[in-house]
């Protein structure tokens, strides 16, 4: 029966209990029972050991004393002493036997010399008959002068009694411990379920659409999970917010050029007087459509970059050469707009990044600066290593573009990286309001950041890129680029 159950268990490929709480409870019960068993066994073992040693020591000292009597008074004195001891032994557990050289019983309360006792200096544990019952005894034999032999022993049935009591205790303990283990297991399972339930309740609420639920922290170890889940929910919330904001913006900002293109085409279809007029209207509509395509492309790019899927193109980028190239490309545009582009580019360490993306980010910053600068003003492209210019082991680089344009108010700066955001002052200039969002996303891709500050007058846009592309801390990874 048991063998069949065992083979059945062995055939189960998987542990049969699926509930994590049940398993916890079972493990708890088993550990509790095992420890109780070990504890009680140890108690049993050390107690009987102590008793044994006690009995043996008693026998040894008794025998020594009796041997001394023999030395003083011979067989008679010894026999008297033995009889006296037997008489005074209230517990009736002391055993003696004195025999002469012929094996004749001389004194003592043992009926005869046990056959198995052939050796001296050895404790025998034997079953002996006393009066009408048989009992367990510890015995030792001693040789005396003149062929006399002496047995001193001790009735150890008390120990059996103790064993009985201990065994009974053990059984009761087992029952109690089992009950406690079961109860404990039940409590653990309940606790476990409660923790899981609180997380499950929150995630279920979130799954059904209520993103504002958070798991309550209670100071326990599960807070680690709870905090991670809460952080994750925060991020989901921000991303959702971003998506909402972007879809609103798309609806609004793409509608305008689409409406314009549509109006132009319809107007031309209805009212164009000549082929040339028709062609012009179509050209304008195509330009509007190109703008819409451009916006889509920029949005897609930002989305791709933010998803972090563009890190495959990461390689070592020589920033110094890249910056000089960009400065050369834009210096001409600046000059055409009546601006002077100053460059302060120190020798920079190479970073690990996406060359095209860094170029795009710089192009956007320079485009912006040129767009918003009044004629005759100065632009500055500055690049330095971090933490300071003299450092031999740089941790990163800062690249900044400053203009002397109208600048931005503090509240505009905060919103500047939002998709489609355009400051009041910028409404009249062409642009989609995606430029800085893209720069921000590229900075995020490189674990860097984009900061805007006052240049008195004008605006400074600073791109900070760390050399080490691994996120500097857990926090930066969570910081949402939206």
């Amino acid at each position: 029966m048991i063998a069949r159950l065992l083979t059945r268990l062995r055939h189960l490929k998987r542990w049969p209990i699926r509930s994590a709480g049940g398993n916890f409870a079972l493990a708890y019960g088993v550990v509790f029972l095992l420890s109780a068993g070990v504890f009680l066994s140890f108690t049993w073992w050390s107690t009987t050991n102590l008793l044994d040693r006690h009995v043996q020591a008693g026998i040894e000292s008794d025998a020594q004393d009796l041997t001394r009597r023999w030395v003083f008074g011979g067989a008679g004195t010894l026999s008297d002493a033995i009889e006296e001891r037997i008489e005074q032994n209230v517990d009736d557990d002391a055993l003696y036997l004195l025999v002469d050289r012929n094996g004749q019983r001389f004194a003592g309360n043992l009926p005869g010399w046990p056959v198995v006792m052939t050796r001296l200096d050895h404790f025998y544990e034997l079953s002996i008959r006393r009066y009408t019952f048989s009992t367990q005894a510890k015995l030792k034999a001693y040789a005396l002068p003149g062929g006399f032999r002496l047995i001193v022993g001790h009735d150890v049935r008390g120990r059996h009694l103790l064993r009985h009591v201990m065994a009974e205790t053990l059984i009761w303990c087992a029952i109690m411990v089992s009950l406690l283990a079961l109860g404990g297991a039940f409590v653990i399972r309940k606790l476990f379920l409660r923790i899981v339930h609180s997380i499950a309740r929150t995630t279920a609420a979130v799954a059904s659409g209520d993103l504002n639920h958070r798991i309550a922290l209670n100071g326990s170890e599960t807070d680690l999970v709870a905090e991670t889940v809460n952080t994750m929910l925060d991020r989901i919330n921000r991303l959702m917010e971003g998506v909402r904001q972007v879809s609103n913006a798309i609806a609004h900002d793409l509608r305008t050029p689409i409406a314009r293109a549509r109006t132009q085409l319809e107007d031309a279809a209805l009212h164009a007087q000549s082929d040339d007029e028709l062609r012009d209207a179509i050209d304008l509509a195509v330009q509007d459509l190109d703008r819409i395509t451009g916006i889509f492309e920029a949005l897609l790019r930002i989305a791709q970059i933010e998803a972090g899927s563009r890190r495959s193109a990461f390689a070592s980028v020589d920033l110094t050469a890249l910056l000089h190239d960009m400065a050369e490309l834009y210096e001409a545009s600046a000059e055409e707009a009546g601006l002077t582009l100053h460059t302060q580019i120190s020798t920079l360490p190479a970073i690990i990044g996406d060359r095209h993306m860094v170029q795009q980010a710089l192009a956007n910053l320079l485009d912006n600066a040129i767009k918003f600068s009044p004629s005759g003003s100065q632009l500055t492209l500055r690049a330095e290593r971090l933490p300071n210019e003299e450092s031999t082991k740089p941790t990163g680089v800062t690249i900044s573009v400053s203009d002397q344009g109208p600048g931005m108010s503090a509240s505009d700066m905060e919103r500047a990286h939002e998709r489609f955001f355009r400051a009041e002052a910028a409404r009249s200039t062409p642009g989609s309001g995606l430029g800085l969002s893209l720069v921000q996303a590229i900075a995020g891709l490189h674990h860097g950041q984009l900061t805007l500050s006052h240049a008195h007058p004008g605006l400074t846009a600073t791109l900070t890129l760390p050399l080490n592309t691994a996120p500097s801390s857990h926090k930066t990874q969570i910081v949402d680029p939206v």
């Binding site: 193109a313 190239d325 834009y330 545009s333």
Partner: protein, 230 residues
Amino acid sequence: MRILLVEDDPTVRSFVVKGLKESGHVVDEADNGKDGLFLAVSEAYDVVILDRMLPGGIDGLRILETLRGQNNATPVLLLSALSDVDERVTGLKAGGDDYVTKPFAFSELLARVEALGRRGHADTTTKTSLSVGDLTLDLLSRDVRRAGQKIDLQPREFRLLEFLVRHAGQVVTRTMLLEKVWDYHFDPQTNVIDVHVSRLRQKVDKPFENALIHTVRNAGYILRDPNADA
């Protein structure tokens, strides 16, 4: 030039075919990968234009890989709605010679197709000097002369002029210049390329009677020998 166009969208296909024919090219067309592959391997073309996503199990990249697998070096231009930089890199790695993202301006496509066709015919011997009309570029000493007069150019201006001269008689677009002369693959919002071309014109055309570099409306620029026009 003899051009094969493999494109499944009928609107885009007929538009491109019409445009290419108007520009004096002979065009074969296929609307699926199977026919496209058959034509590409059995006929000789100067340029093949391939859409990346095609119905019928054989997409543009497969056609391209098959062609290259047969040591067929016909220039291939990939056409795709996938604008991701990675996609572009994948296409070029598979053996594509150029990549145009949909939606595109026909002038852009035409300029790139003509540039590719020209490259297919270009003699492979390395020249040490280029010349168009009275303009001569010495590629070794980086010396530029027009009508015997030396013109001082910045290194980048030299590369810009070299590219225009190498594509003399062809339209080159601003994006082509940005990609080929500067190796940039982003979309500048301001007129950076126009400014550089206009600077070049100041040096190459302004002091002389005839202009070599011309602006092509809605397309880009063309460098043309004024005497070869007639």
